[in-house]
């Protein structure tokens, strides 16, 4: 059988929509917001064509709720939004985590706080993606830097989501969302698709929140005797509220975190570029990693041995990976389109200060800025 690669010229948002459909999404609920709207628009066109459902809800709270409802019905479902809408989704995101319901939320970041810079890029939601809802909640956050990565990580987002039965956030930005560039679509037969594990127990024995060693419970489609309860409260393995049972509460919350720890290796994605001998390690993600890659080349031309560690999985934070690559580096640099967010985690893991490069004015950090900042450090050394 011959495999067909397909070279396309696509916008990031478009690539996300196409990848989602290939990943098996059959439900999209959303509410328009720049710079994420194209994803909804594509889905409005495509969902009914592939037998799925697109619905524009009354707001983002309803959108994520409908997505979770559809996923509870057993279907892969997603929504896409930007800052203000992402904030509104947080309560129900917490709900999805406590009831082990998979779904994918795309946040195409723009400048904030509030409506801020509605059409310009930023990376200001990195910490929010991890900590946005109340209470302790586990989450996975993936972050693409190119349209190709947007495509690939969207599929991975669904795979991880189904694997661990948890919401996964695809943290894109206005640069990646709107830029058009070359994408090589793999032959569909080569795309790995993960579906949630379905129980093989009969209804009488099925416990919807009982999990094996990986912490992930098996799913059961409603009907045919599987009539289980789901609650937003802390619950026992059968799904019933157990809000005064400290033991059950402890087990549940720790299981939710455990399932991510269990699969941590599998869900940690990153790329490196010229790190073998680097004195300077740039840790970057999203659109900023693009500039960082250029900067690495420019620095090397100028005689500074720089390398790039591009994080694609931002959360759970790949601390060991960062630590490992940072070891041999004299200087660690973290450029971000925010006031300094992921740099805190980097510093915590490498137990020393990093050079921060921050920009919050709606413009990308350019390769030259990174180069200059690093040269500056070396000139003082």
């Amino acid at each position: 059988m011959s495999l067909k690669e397909d070279v396309r010229f696509m916008q990031g948002n478009e690539a996300i929509a196409e990848a989602a459909i290939l990943a098996g999404v059959r439900f999209f609920a959303g509410y328009p917001i720049t710079p994420a709207t194209e994803i909804a628009e594509m889905m409005a066109l495509r969902m009914p064509q592939v037998g799925g459902v697109f619905i524009q809800m009354e707001d983002e709270i309803a959108s994520i709720a409908a997505v979770i409802g559809a996923s509870m019905a057993g279907f892969k479902a997603m929504t896409a939004t930007s800052g203000p809408g992402f904030t509104l989704m947080q309560e129900n995101l917490g709900y999805a985590t406590i009831v082990d319901i998979p779904c994918v939320i795309v946040d195409v970041q723009r400048g904030g706080p509030s409506t801020g810079l509605p059409t310009l890029p930023a990376q200001g939601d990195v910490m929010q993606a991890r900590w946005g809802t109340h209470g302790d909640h586990p989450i996975v956050v993936l972050c693409p830097a190119t349209v190709q990565e947007a495509f690939e990580l969207t599929i991975e987002a669904f795979n991880i989501s189904e694997l661990i039965r948890n919401p996964v956030i695809l943290l894109s930005d206005a640069v990646v969302g709107h830029v058009r560039e070359k994408v090589t679509l793999p032959d569909p037969s080569r795309i790995r698709i993960v579906n949630r594990r379905v129980t093989n127990l009969p209804p009488e024995q099925y416990k919807p929140f009982a999990a094996g060693p990986d912490g992930v419970p098996d799913f059961a489609y409603r009907g045919k005797g599987y009539r289980y309860h789901v609650t937003s409260n802390v619950h026992d393995e059968e799904g019933f509220p157990a809000t005064y049972n400290h033991k059950v509460a402890n087990e549940l919350i720790r299981r939710l975190h455990k399932k991510i720890e269990f699969y941590r290796k599998e869900i940690t994605y990153y790329k490196t570029y010229r790190v073998e001998d680097s004195d300077v390690l740039i840790v970057a993600y999203g659109c900023t990693a693009r500039s960082a890659k250029d900067a690495v080349n420019m620095l090397r031309e100028g005689g500074i041995r720089a390398g790039l560690l591009q994080l694609q999985t931002l959360w759970p934070f790949p601390g060991e990976v960062v630590e490992g690559y940072a070891k041999r580096a004299k200087v660690v640099v973290v450029p971000e389109m925010n006031m300094g967010q992921l740099v805190g985690e980097v510093e915590r893991c490498i137990c020393r200060k990093a050079v921060r490069i921050n920009r919050v004015d709606g413009k990308m950090i350019s390769p030259w800025e990174i180069v200059d900042a690093i040269k500056e450090v070396f000139s003082h050394a």
Binding site: A62, A65, I68, G69, F240
Partner: protein, 274 residues
């Protein structure tokens, strides 16, 4: 008489509600309706939000999903769109459904999606201990209305009708058989159906509003409810402190949402433009 236990999760009984709380009776009425329609427990999904009313689905042996405060109809919409074969029922409260959840209520009504919503109106936020709700009558007392509530209340049936629902009814816990009959009609109706059930919260509401016993509260319901068929007998003046019960509005013309969606997909599959 119907064997209600067949539909209950006996291990979850006694339920957690206060003595005399109307919620148990609403669940009974729902079961009576389901039994009358001959539905199987498997084909029903009962969604709730947060509040005492939300605990209703812990005790019934249907598919049961309790969601976040006020958002139930949005969850249910997602579910129903993917499982149009199932009967989706939502039970909500006057806070859950009319305060924080008001927007989802009117939008679900507008879409006319085939969901049956039962709003248990006990005129109070029961679970949080007795604060006024948008359905608490003006002048009544609550922990957050220590001087009497100055806020006018919604006529929630009128609101949901104006929003576009195609079946609207009101009943009370006192009129339990009527409630059951109306719920049965609502479930059978294709489109968004809405039933307000006036209920009693002796602990959060009755205590503060000179109704000392659940019985008094039930009698209040009896005395203030007027069957819609008999409304003409009353003068406007007489109707002032009364409310109508029964089937208030039905529209069989307006198309149902999942049907329209299915039609769109069919047309596309046939190569049309929808």
């Amino acid at each position: 008489m119907l064997d209600i236990k067949k539909y209950l999760r006996l291990s979850k009984l006694p339920h957690i509600w206060c003595p005399g709380c109307g919620n148990g009776s609403v669940v009974r009425a729902l079961i009576m309706a389901v039994d009358k329609l001959g539905l199987s427990k498997d084909e029903i999904v009962l969604f709730t939000g947060i509040g005492c009313s939300a605990r209703t689905n812990v005790i019934v042996d249907f598919n049961t999903i309790q969601t976040t405060h006020g958002r139930t109809l949005a969850f249910a919409t997602g579910f129903k769109l993917m499982r149009p074969d199932m009967k989706v029922i939502v039970i909500t409260g006057d806070g859950d459904g009319a305060a924080i959840g008001g927007n989802h209520l009117i939008h679900a009504a507008r879409r006319n999606i085939d969901i049956t919503t039962i709003l248990i109106n006990n005129s109070i936020y029961g679970m949080t201990g007795g604060q006024y709700s948008p359905l608490s009558p003006q002048g009544t007392y609550a922990t957050t209305a220590p001087y009497g509530n100055i806020e006018p209340s919604f006529d929630i049936c009128k609101l949901v009708e104006a929003a576009g629902a195609t079946f609207i009814a009101r009943s009370t816990v006192y009129h339990i058989q009527l409630t059951a009959d109306l719920i049965a009609k609502a479930i059978a109706h294709k489109g968004f159906s809405f039933i307000e059930v006036v209920s009693q919260c002796p602990v959060g509401y009755g205590r503060r509003n000179r109704m000392r016993t659940p019985y008094e509260m039930l009698m209040w319901q009896k005395e203030h409810a007027v069957l819609v068929q008999q409304a003409q007998r009353y003068s406007l003046e007489e109707m002032k402190d009364k409310f109508l019960i029964g089937e208030l509005f039905v529209n069989k013309e307006k198309r149902e949402y999942t049907e329209l969606y299915e039609e769109l997909r069919r047309k596309l599959a046939e190569g049309g433009e929808g």
